[in-house]
């Protein structure tokens, strides 16, 4: 089979079309693997990932995020590239993708490539093109920077396997949290076609780990792990359902990251909700915060939400919200509490909890020491004691603390991989609205 790489179209025009078509995939992280260059090519990777720029929506630009082609045989209702849309179509050649990646990388514009694709002719045909492209990039162009590729649902497992030995990260998008929603909005995709490659990649990563123990020289398979994305707000699922799905993806599929993408209505399809207020950004933000609590703070989804209380509090971050509903556990004594207890204190992050543990070996900590360590006292003061004393004489009473916390701007965990960056500004908006509302 042939595909027309739109011979007459210039590279700039293609780049425009295929970037436009790729931008709704929110993942742009280059994290998860530390690899030095071997001196024979170009590139390396840093475990924390590196952002290289920020676009006008404040999102991090880390990778050259493009589709190989925006031709597609499917007709997913939420997608700008669906078959029934009349939009300009374009396809790259493998060499064009390689040249762009190399040219951008050496100028330090990007950390690497994020290659996704519409489905051209057949999932196998598309996966084969993706494979050939990154094979070329790794072997001929000797590119050693970061590569994230999509595994195309329904593609031959052999192709996915081969690709996994060249990529740093792979992802299969779950798209929608329930099989029912998927059936309604993405009639050509099936839940099992999405979960099968996910499981395959998970098993591949596990086998590879064992292999690497035996032979150090064994090639790496998807060393930066697997991620996925769910669209938030296109279908009626609540936050509780979304978090339960995310939790099981972490636990049962060993995913590295779950991304949440506030639905942007590009097609005005009657099956889709109209969103007069724009994409549900605050909701997306709360989901990221809760996701963070699952991955780094030892929380379970069922501690944060329940059938009776299925959505996050708009005004309070999920951790403060949890703490206010569990005042019986507070205050904790900073000089004695264990790491897990410290992590649950609003205003104490992973880094400051670790620093508290280290610093208190050299003697009891006072409130001014906590400040140096990076604890946000304005938030923490209701929940801690230092050597038995609270910072001020305050009431430990839900309404009172809630009112006080709401007057403090939220501080969020700092991450280099872009997604959490976006969180800062949303709170300005919240405060702004609250002021306006009086």
């Amino acid at each position: 089979m042939y595909y027309k790489a739109a011979e007459k179209m210039g590279i700039k025009e293609k780049l425009g079309i295929l970037t436009d078509a790729a931008k709704y995939d929110v993942a742009c992280t280059s994290s998860g693997v530390d690899r030095r260059g071997d001196g024979t090519g170009m590139g390396n990777t840093e475990a924390g990932g590196i952002c290289h720029s920020f676009s006008a929506d404040g999102r991090c630009i880390s990778l050259l995020k493009i589709l190989f082609t925006n031709e597609c045989i499917y007709d997913c209702k939420y997608c700008i590239n669906r078959k029934s849309n009349d939009v300009p179509r374009a396809s790259f050649t493998p060499d064009e993708v390689c040249e762009l990646t190399m040219g951008f990388y050496k100028r330090n514009y990007i950390e690497g490539l994020f290659l996704s694709s519409g489905i051209l002719y057949h999932p196998d045909f598309t996966m084969e093109l993706i494979f050939q492209t990154i094979y070329k990039l790794r072997r001929e162009y000797r590119f050693q920077g970061y590569i994230h590729v999509k595994a195309i649902p329904g593609a031959d497992p052999m192709l996915i396997q081969k690709t996994g030995f060249l990529a740093d990260r792979m992802s299969v998008n779950l798209e929608l949290p329930t099989a029912e929603s998927l059936r309604r909005l993405a009639p050509n995709k099936h839940r099992k076609n999405i979960l099968a490659p996910m499981r395959q990649i998970q098993n591949g990563i596990l086998e590879n780990k064992n292999e690497l123990v035996l032979y150090k020289k064994a090639p790496y398979f998807v060393p930066a792990g697997q991620s996925t994305q769910m669209i938030v707000g296109a279908t009626p699922e609540n936050d509780y359902q979304l978090m339960m799905v995310a939790e099981s993806l972490y636990q049962k599929f060993g995913l590295k990251r779950v991304f949440y993408s506030a639905f942007v209505n590009v097609n005005e399809d009657k099956e889709l909700p109209a969103l007069p207020g724009g994409p549900p950004l605050l909701r997306e933000h709360r989901l990221y915060q809760a996701d963070w609590l699952l991955r780094y703070y030892g929380f379970q989804a069922s501690e944060l939400l329940s059938e009776e209380r299925p959505n996050f509090n708009v005004l309070l971050d999920p951790k403060a919200d949890w703490a206010l509903r569990h005042l019986e556990l507070f205050p904790v004594e900073v000089n004695r509490a264990d790491y897990q207890q410290l992590l649950r204190v609003p205003g104490v992050g992973v880094k400051s909890a670790q620093r508290i543990i280290r610093a208190r070996r050299n003697g009891s900590l006072r409130f001014e020491d906590l400040k140096k360590i990076g604890v946000v006292l304005k938030r923490a003061l209701y929940f801690i004691t230092c050597s038995g004393k609270m910072m001020y004489h305050t009431k430990i009473e839900e309404d009172y603390i809630t009112r006080n916390l709401l007057s403090v701007k939220e501080k969020l965990p700092f991450d280099k991989d872009g997604v959490t960056y976006r969180q800062l500004s949303l709170f300005d908006d919240v405060n702004f609205q609250m002021q306006q509302d009086g």
Binding site: T19, M42, N44, R107, R358
Partner: protein, 260 residues
């Protein structure tokens, strides 16, 4: 005042070598560290009854101090001290000196950076973090431009002295390229000839005006990337304030996609 207990100020050069030599001299004097201080550069207001001693940087002495720090406090603390000394700050010499003293008194010197309740340690911690953050920012935001002769050239204006931390990063990434990074505030160039080790030269040895013309392709790539940045933004999520928070203006002037 007790005789012999006057405050002694060791005046050191603003460099790793300078401050480490100062620490060497402070130990050699065998006095009470509480009454000895390291100061970088000249003092503006001389204190009465204080003694000022000028320290000339010395390779051998500095290397001994570096070796002791590495052995007794560990490579990680050593790196924190180096980062602190790369920061632009008048009191960094004293903070590093007193942190070393504290560390060498501890049973497990490698834990000294945990003692954040100590003001000197905390200062080193803050300065080290400041440098590390800026190094990271330049890894993100520095741009190379390709010259006609194939050299990749980058100009930056960092607040702290970061080029020596950037050089290993880019040497590992671009081993087969000739590249240069120019710190225009301090007049220092990192020079990396392909397949060889990088080194530093100052603008006394090299004139920035000798940098040749840009390669023909260079403008094309700048245009492509600028276009990409424009296309990747989702207009329904537009948030310029967030963009500016993430990417302070002082970096934007060095970035091709924000074009001058």
């Amino acid at each position: 005042m007790v005789v012999g207990m006057e405050e002694k100020y060791l005046i050191c050069e603003d460099s790793l070598e300078g401050v480490f030599t100062g620490i060497y001299e402070a130990y050699a004097m065998k006095g009470d560290h509480g009454h000895m201080h390291i100061q970088i550069g000249e003092e503006e207001n001389f204190r009465l009854f204080a003694v000022y001693i000028k320290v000339t940087p010395d390779d051998v002495k500095a290397a001994k101090v570096a070796a002791t720090i590495n052995r007794r406090l560990g490579a990680e603390v050593y790196l924190d001290l180096c980062r602190a000394l790369a920061a632009e700050d008048g009191e960094k010499g004293e903070a590093v000196y007193k942190t070393v003293v504290r560390g060498l008194r501890m049973k497990e010197g490698s834990r000294v950076m945990g003692a954040l309740a100590d003001d000197f340690v905390h200062k080193v911690f803050e300065l080290s973090r400041r440098t590390r953050n800026e190094v990271h920012h330049w890894k993100e935001f520095l741009r190379f431009q390709e010259l006609e002769n194939g050299i990749l050239y980058s100009k930056i204006g960092p607040r702290n002295n970061v080029v020596t931390f950037l050089a290993p990063h880019f040497s590992d990434r671009l081993p087969l390229f000739d590249f240069m990074i120019y710190d225009e505030k301090r007049g220092i160039f990192v020079v990396h000839p392909k397949k060889r080790e990088w080194y530093l030269v100052t603008d006394k040895d090299f004139d920035e005006r000798e940098i040749g013309r840009y390669a023909e392709k260079e403008m094309e790539y700048q245009e492509l990337f600028t276009f990409f940045c424009h296309k990747i933004a989702i207009k329904e999520r537009k948030n310029l304030k967030l963009q500016r928070n993430m990417l302070p203006l002082r970096f934007q002037e060095y970035m091709v996609e924000f074009g001058q």
